[in-house]
């Protein structure tokens, strides 16, 4: 890359089931202005705005970037909208980083959001496709059979998913922005919660949230003048595969494996389990933690569950995962990927508050979307690579 890129400002909204106290404009501005303040800037300092969100049917507003242009201070500046389903928050950040790395701009504001209470995400995800029986009930209905396949293939203990959910829900109690904060949550509450899409239980499932996330990215010259410690982007990667082809491994998708491999190579990482200090990864249903631990090459195939079981992914483990409480605790879909990227940047900046991993120097942000077909990832570190 020609230029270094660093995260110099991070902002997010309070995430909640219904943010009826703000409009869509207000929601994105809440995150954007917090990120600008964190970077010691105003909208006037920004060269370009890159915005992302998931399908327009989630709010019922077509091309919301048109109405957001002035809300986000983009008048007279370049503005781009990115869309790669649930991975969009990640790919939006990567597009913004590319503009810095390519030397096109010095300071880029990137924002992603979802205001799911304004429409019905499960309805939007269950629209009947021609030539399929109309019974795939939302994302849970799509992913539950894949989780069952993972359970069978790996022979993982049946309570692995409950343990992941318990960890993430306890982590969320340390995150002031989290949507779901279940005080006193315990193993039995999760185990006894109703099966929604058997084998997925209610408390192993992400909520539907309103929320936004924003970051200010800058080149090396800008980062050096930033009021707070920057998180340097060491590598970014995106990969795609078709939703359907014969022999497709939907439990451990090729695109995810390839994306992680090229990401580590670009970042000069040869042993990710040892060299990466912590991760924020996209886990909308608890069983995806062990599945992605394998896909991201942290564990051999069919052994990802052991990391959960042995406590490796806990806040005090050797590879903490989803210190913020993750997607299981806040899920404004379009923002969920960027929240992973921003949370990991804050870990490196030492700005993660109560859920800070002490001395985190290198971290992974990860998002996936569609039918596990879009992957976006970045590695950030405390020094330029």
């Amino acid at each position: 890359m020609a230029e270094h890129c660093a995260v110099i400002g991070v902002g997010q909204t309070q995430h909640d089931a219904k943010r009826i106290d703000v409009s869509q404009y207000g929601l994105v501005r809440e995150a954007a202005e917090r990120a600008l303040e964190d970077a010691g800037m105003t909208y006037a300092d920004i060269d370009a705005v890159v915005v992302g969100k998931a399908p327009d049917m989630f709010e019922g507003v077509m091309m919301p970037e048109l109405m957001l242009a002035d809300s986000l201070g983009a008048v007279g500046k370049p503005m781009l909208r990115v869309h790669t389903a649930g991975s969009v928050g990640g790919s939006t950040a990567i597009v913004a980083a590319s503009l810095i790395q390519a030397g096109v701009h010095d300071r880029v504001l990137t924002v992603s959001y979802e205001k799911q209470s304004e429409s019905n995400a499960m309805w939007a995800l269950s629209v009947k496709v021609p030539f399929q029986q109309g019974m795939v009930a939302g994302a849970g209905g799509y992913f539950a059979p894949l989780i069952r396949a993972y359970m069978k293939r790996s022979g993982a203990p049946e309570d692995t998913g409950i343990r992941v959910a318990l960890k993430d829900r306890q982590n969320a109690l340390k995150n002031p922005y989290a949507h779901l904060k279940l005080e006193g949550i315990d193993f039995d509450q999760i185990a006894n919660s109703p099966m929604l899409w058997d084998p997925i239980r209610y408390l192993e499932t992400c909520p539907s949230s309103d929320g936004a996330c924003a970051m200010v990215l800058g080149n090396a010259a800008v980062a050096k003048k930033a009021p707070k410690k920057p998180a340097w982007v060491h590598a970014t990667a995106m990969r795609t595969e078709p939703t359907m082809f014969s022999g497709r491994d939907q439990v451990n998708p090729q695109a995810g494996q390839d994306c992680a491999r090229v990401l580590y190579k670009k970042a000069g990482i040869s042993d990710p389990r040892k060299e990466i200090d912590c991760c924020e990864i996209y886990v909308p249903f608890s069983w995806f933690e062990p599945m992605w631990m394998e896909n991201l090459h942290f564990a051999p195939e069919s052994e990802g569950w052991k990391m959960t079981y042995e406590g490796a992914t806990a806040l005090d483990g050797d590879l903490p995962v989803n210190m913020s409480g993750g997607v299981l605790s806040s899920n404004p879909i379009g923002a969920s990927g960027m929240l992973r990227f921003a949370e990991i940047a804050n870990q490196i900046r030492g700005e993660a508050g109560e859920h800070q991993v002490d001395g985190a120097k290198k971290g992974l942000g990860h998002a996936y979307g569609g039918g596990s077909q879009f992957f976006s990832m970045w590695i950030v570190g405390d020094q330029p690579l």
Partner: protein, 165 residues
């Protein structure tokens, strides 16, 4: 505060969406076969995999698929979930089983509904058959198949279908 000064927190603006789908050549042929009560896929000349419903090209090899192959009507459940949560646009009695079904002769499973079977009895590897609507109701649509139901055959061993998960 007077009513005029109360903030308006929400208004409802319904929107409706209908679309005309142009199926194209391969899907048109699939639908014409469905109209005759046959499930017909297409074989890729390079990797020899049989796709159903075929889209006219192999997503893996990127080549046009021309050879037609009749598949099913029996198949194997590769994996499934039991749905116990309602959705606005799905008119089925809860709980119901949504399964990936690999039709005999096909190399890719697709999502379908399992009925005439208690959800607790559905298994990976279970053998099923297509249950068709009454012939006079058949049209160029996948809906000619109402659902799948179990048949009295031994389960398929996991190793025989694990590449389709």
């Amino acid at each position: 505060m007077s009513e005029a000064k109360q903030p308006i927190k929400s208004i409802v603006t319904p929107s409706r969406l209908e679309y005309d789908f142009t199926p194209g050549i391969a899907t048109t042929r699939f639908l014409r076969h469905m109209e005759e009560g046959r499930i017909v896929g297409q074989r890729c000349a390079e990797c020899t995999k049989v796709y159903v419903p075929a889209r006219g090209s192999c997503p893996r090899c990127g080549v046009a698929t021309k050879e037609e192959v009749e598949v099913g009507p029996n198949g194997t459940v590769t994996t499934f979930c039991v749905v116990r949560v309602p959705s606005e646009n799905i008119d089925l009695t809860l709980p119901y089983t949504a399964a990936h079904i690999l039709l005999d002769g096909a190399d890719i499973p697709f999502f379908a509904l399992i009925q005439e079977c208690d959800a607790a009895d559905v298994r990976m590897g279970m053998r099923v058959e297509a249950v068709w609507a009454a012939k006079e109701e058949w049209g160029p649509t996948f809906e000619n198949i109402r659902y799948f139901r179990p048949i009295d055959e031994p389960d398929v061993p996991f190793d025989d279908f694990k590449e389709h998960l």
